[in-house]
């Protein structure tokens, strides 16, 4: 095993320093030492999007990202989206459209949508479908998720 490595990064706006194993995955670091369990683990192979977090504003699968690779970067998890107890507009839209059932995909779905709107505030439906292709939801059939995202563009 490689030696533990010291990393510094910004987590949900807060400067953070941690010592992590070289092989530690970002999802395990977030859910373990960082105690941010809103990031969900599902497929383990970068297919489902449940573990999506934003690294420097871009969605990445934390199940296949090494914790040491976020050294010097900004990480946003679902816990970092609402400000002073006020939901982000994406969170509010998901709530308003009841765009979730079991909710296990919701953190990743909300974060991916946040990144999409950052890049394309007026994304077309085709662009929405393309961008969210990597986020699986097994419960909703995506109909209400599409409605929620379309309400934001």
């Amino acid at each position: 095993m490689l030696d533990p490595t010291h990393i510094r990064f910004v987590l949900n706006g807060a400067e953070t320093e941690l010592t992590v194993d070289a092989a530690e995955l970002l999802v395990d670091m977030l859910r373990g030492p960082c105690k941010l369990k809103g990031t969900k683990r599902s497929c383990d192979v970068e297919v489902c999007g449940a573990c999506t977090v934003l690294v420097d504003g871009l969605p990445v699968s934390s199940c296949t990202t090494l914790a040491i690779d976020i050294d010097g970067k900004k990480v946003t998890t679902i816990e970092g989206l609402s400000q002073n107890g006020k939901l982000s507009k994406v969170q509010q839209a998901f709530l308003d459209h009841a765009a979730m059932q079991c909710g296990f995909c919701t953190s990743g779905m909300v974060l991916a949508t946040t990144a999409l709107l950052e890049q394309k505030p007026h994304a077309s439906e085709a662009e929405i479908r393309h961008f969210l292709h990597g986020n699986i939801c097994r419960c909703t059939g995506y109909v209400k998720i599409l409605e929620a995202v379309k309400s934001l563009v």
Partner: protein, 755 residues
Amino acid sequence: MSSRAPSPHPDHVDKVTGRTEYITDVEVPGMVHGKILRSPHPHAVIKGIDASAALEMPGVIAVLTGADVAALNNHWGLYLKDRPVIAIDRVRYVGEPVAMVAAADERIAEEALEAISVDYEPLPFVTDATEAIEASAPLVHETHDTVKDFYFKGEAKPVAGTNIFQRYNYEHGDVEKAFAQADRCFEAKYEFPMIFHYAMEPHCVIASFQSDGLTLWSCGQSPTAIQKVLSRVFGMPLARIRIISPNVGGGFGGKASVKIDPLVAALAWKARRPVRVCLSVSESMLTARRLSASIRVKTGVRNDGTILAKSVSVLMNGGAYADTGPAVAVKAANRAIGPYRIPNLKLESMAAYTNTVPGAAFRSIGGPQAVWASESQMDEIAEALRLDPLEIRNRNLLRRGEHVRPDLRPIDVEMGEAMDIATREMTQLRASDSGSKTHRGTALGISDPGIMAVSSVLLRLKIDGSVAVVSNSVEIGQGVREVLRRLTAEQLKQPVDVVEVLTPDTAIAPFDWGTGASRSSLMMGLAIADAAADIRRQIADIAAIVLEVDPQSVELCEGGIAIGNRKKTFGELLHAYFGIDSGELVSIGRVSPYSNAGKLAQAPLFWETAAGQCAVAVDEDTGEISVRHYVSVADVGRVVNRAAAEGQDEGATVMGLGHTLSEELVYQDGQPINATMIDYHVPTIDEVPENFVTVLIESGTGPGLGGMRGMGEGAILPVAPAVANALAAGYGARIRELPLTPERVWRAIRDRKER
């Protein structure tokens, strides 16, 4: 629904902020982690296991193998006691748990698995159901130990000395005579593959033996079934076994009945520590799957399309352990009947053991398999007789009150109404989409939910007017907590905000049969009504004592009671009664087959149905099907939470598109060759139809509160045959094997053109 629009749904606020605690998020003090070593062989004798190297590794606490469970009542099952707690001397499928390690963390446990060596002697195996029922097939189990009325009503009917663990037969009229008299007979076989549930949260259980017994935090949908099985395995009284059910990230039947709970409990028993086992999704794929089916349907008709007789023969691949397969086989037969007048009917169904992942309940057990066969054939008959698919259905449709089978409750919905609405909506959608060339397909599904009318709930009215609902209905994403919250508020005439639905815990919540079979809103709703009536009686009696009023004159109102114009808060009333400003009223509500004057005893409790219509376009160069529009219509009786109810039908339909277009667990040489999420494709957002219309008919004719019937499992039924029927109508390609992959579609269209 009469009660006012609620403030933001508290469960949803937690979910969009990541605060919801799921079973995989639960941490129990002192817990260690377990990992499972699985069989690489489809069928083999275990000659020996050497775990000594693993036990020497730092951080390893215990290893569990078959030798350890000799002291336990080590086989369990809800229909057949066929499953060992952990493989004892033999493995029966690739993925079967053979050894387990408990260690300080998951990584150590995982590494320790590699240090365990298992000596196997491979045996002949069978993975195909048709081969499994041949006389020469290797036996997956030598004997069949059935249990009657254990958790399901009745018992399985296995055939001694064979792999058949369930046989079911039904007949009315004289099918052979009617076939002889029919103008035309149509017969074909339809294939439905094994489907993985893919609840996004994999199976997870934490088990802990303490001085007061065994506690499990479980992903299971049926806490009391788990409690009962553990009681038998460990020889402990039910009262010493406690099952806590946190939020679960999806179930769909894959977490119903009992799955990994005995295994995890056994490791905790061996390790003498609380143990958490969280599977990977790939491991969940080796834990449960939908039963695949070959269904032969023969229908005899007059030239005008009138059905004279139908016979259905189902063969299901049940996998290595029966699980709920015996129920699935019965339901697959019944659900193949369809909403039609069939004067002569014969049903045969069999489920067979094979050396594959155990088959299990999955959203409408046996239903999608059955409706795939029946509704595909309806269109084949229509085409041969040059009838419109809607016309042949209309000609044979049952009206409300007519019998599907004389021994079952008459159908309680108007399927013609649902089909007409679907047609109207689809016609509008296609008219507004004149740009694309699409073809229409229709299918109707009816199912007989296997609901046991056994539920109970506690309501606890606190002195401050807040109400706790204590039940074992598990929140798996279906929204049961919010439904129970609203129904409790309605029954007690209180605002929804004062009602809290507690996390299920068998230590405090009374018995409920389980969360599945579209039963919880209905059954728990009736139990809540019973409990609320008791609370009202208690309040009236208390008011009579402390206020000296006629108990008949006491009405509940928001925050308290009203006697004419005079109002008292619950706090004022209970303070006067108890003498202190503290206390609560507790009531229990119960539902049994004797409730509601015995009306809940007749099967099925209601008919769960759906009419589906799709508009489909095919890229003839690639064979890729695109479902452009979809309309799903069902009479659900009454809607309690509209967005959630629509979401159930939308989710069920898109799940149905999965088994229609891409999903299939494939075996080759005894190995599941696509059991990872890289190789197994479930629908993604870009596959959702451009237009999706859900119509929920609120006829108020169901047996639940306000005339509700259960829902959530109907909409999946018509999807596959509707798409296949559209494909046949538009391109002349009739495919009788799912999924309708681009290759199959391309070949079918090419073959059609070459003819």
